[in-house]
Symmetry: C2
Subunit: 262 residues, 2 copies
């Protein structure tokens, strides 16, 4: 009997020409049947956006030799929805991998990230999903040092499944930090963007604002993804689409007493 | 001494002409100093998208009499960032209210929702934030029955603060269900969208896909927002931007043993 070849969906938020997705395709195509669906334009920081008010286009492309690949005019979340419903006609997808993003998605960046939103969308559908990001924004980012790690992580997840969680946010330290020290299962660090808006005037004399800023960690204690990365470890945060702040429920019960009709 | 008039930021994802935001402005302007910053185009389902690659415009408008109001060309999250950094020059905002959305944001819809993403963005900045949504998509939705409840909730939060959580996802039952029965502090129900893509051909003969679908609850047990709404209660889910699946951490420790270099 022929062994089951897992069906793997590969996506990202940077499109087909990003070196990071090419590396994921190379790695996964050795392990199973791969289908690639990626945006046809950069979709960084698109969060969990979905295209409702416009038609979406899907075009077969020859981006990775014989591997089935499609460019999608929508968001990363749209890519996952179209892959599942249209291209794969609701066949069981064994794993979704998103990335490898050029730039970190550690800490609260998971919320803004198109890479992670695509992976989360698959996880909402019950598919084991992993988002990979490298702490290097450069188009020349070197994915060689992390490749054996990414390969082993995917093999492990295909063999054992993810269990209770369905989504991993995996970040890989900047190659300049030296050899990867190992992997750590972490919690999401608290952090925020310290924003600046550059103010300018367009050629018509109209004012505009352009967002820029720096990420600031507010919690780099033991067990956080940011601390693992700083020590040269790959950070792995099991993540959830249940946003309930469960611990806060009892403290809010007094609100239930509020009643304007009595 | 003049008592402190709280500073309240009002936003939404539907823009200034949505009756829901008008109602929030009416309610909050009796309680404090109000500034309104809302998108200049519909931004439903925009999730936590941020505008990085384009300039953003901000225009003062006379939408609500003398109340300071601005239309923003960006996403709901951009509205909050610009309000805080540019318009309010980082003054302390006492409360952010978003909505009242026309349509439910219960269950996993918090993840897709522009209304809730705006509120979450403010909560990441440490601001007590509430997203309000009414289970009625209609432009003619009747906000009268819920108005005294919304007012009392906002008064309560201004008086007592939110405590450990910083974000409430508040959904209001469809007016056709009859009088509001009360309020329940809930957890986010599990659910998913059962998607369909309508396939069509544009006038140039090119194929397109258009997303449609129905929300399906998969968990309507006691304590969930969906069950509260079905019983005619306002659902209040304390929510968090920490997406860590804390309970899943111990079960993943075996992954730390994986090491391709040994």
């Amino acid at each position: 009997m022929r062994p089951h070849r897992p069906l793997i969906l590969v996506t990202n938020d940077d499109g087909m020409f990003a070196p990071g997705i090419k590396r994921l395709v190379e790695i996964t195509s050795e392990m199973g049947e791969v289908i690639v669906v990626a945006p046809n334009s950069p979709q960084s920081a698109k969060g969990h956006a979905v295209t409702l008010a416009d038609p979406i286009r899907l075009n077969r492309v020859k981006a990775f030799g014989d591997i089935e690949a499609y460019e999608c005019s929508g968001t990363p979340v749209d890519c996952v929805k179209l892959a599942k419903n249209i291209l794969l006609k609701r066949r069981k997808i064994d794993l979704c991998v998103s990335g490898i993003n050029h730039g970190s998605n550690a800490s609260i960046n998971i919320i803004y990230s198109g890479t992670m939103s695509a992976a989360m969308e698959a996880s909402i559908e019950g598919i084991d999903s992993i988002g990979f990001s490298l702490e290097d924004y450069s188009i020349e980012a070197n994915f060689d040092p992390c490749t054996p790690w990414v390969k082993r992580i995917i093999e492990h997840v295909l063999a054992h499944g993810l269990g209770e969680t369905k989504l991993l946010n995996i970040n890989i330290p900047h190659p300049s930090l030296g050899p990867i020290q190992g992997m750590k299962i972490c919690r999401q660090s608290e952090g925020r963007w310290e924003e600046e808006f550059v103010e300018g005037e367009d050629p018509r004399g109209q004012k505009f604002y352009w967002l820029t800023g720096n990420f600031a960690s507010r919690d780099t204690g033991p067990g956080t993804d940011i601390s693992a990365l700083r020590e040269g470890y790959i950070s792995i945060v099991p993540s959830s689409h249940d946003l309930t702040h469960h611990r806060a429920i009892p403290g809010l019960k007094s609100l239930e007493e509020v009643n304007p009709t009595t």
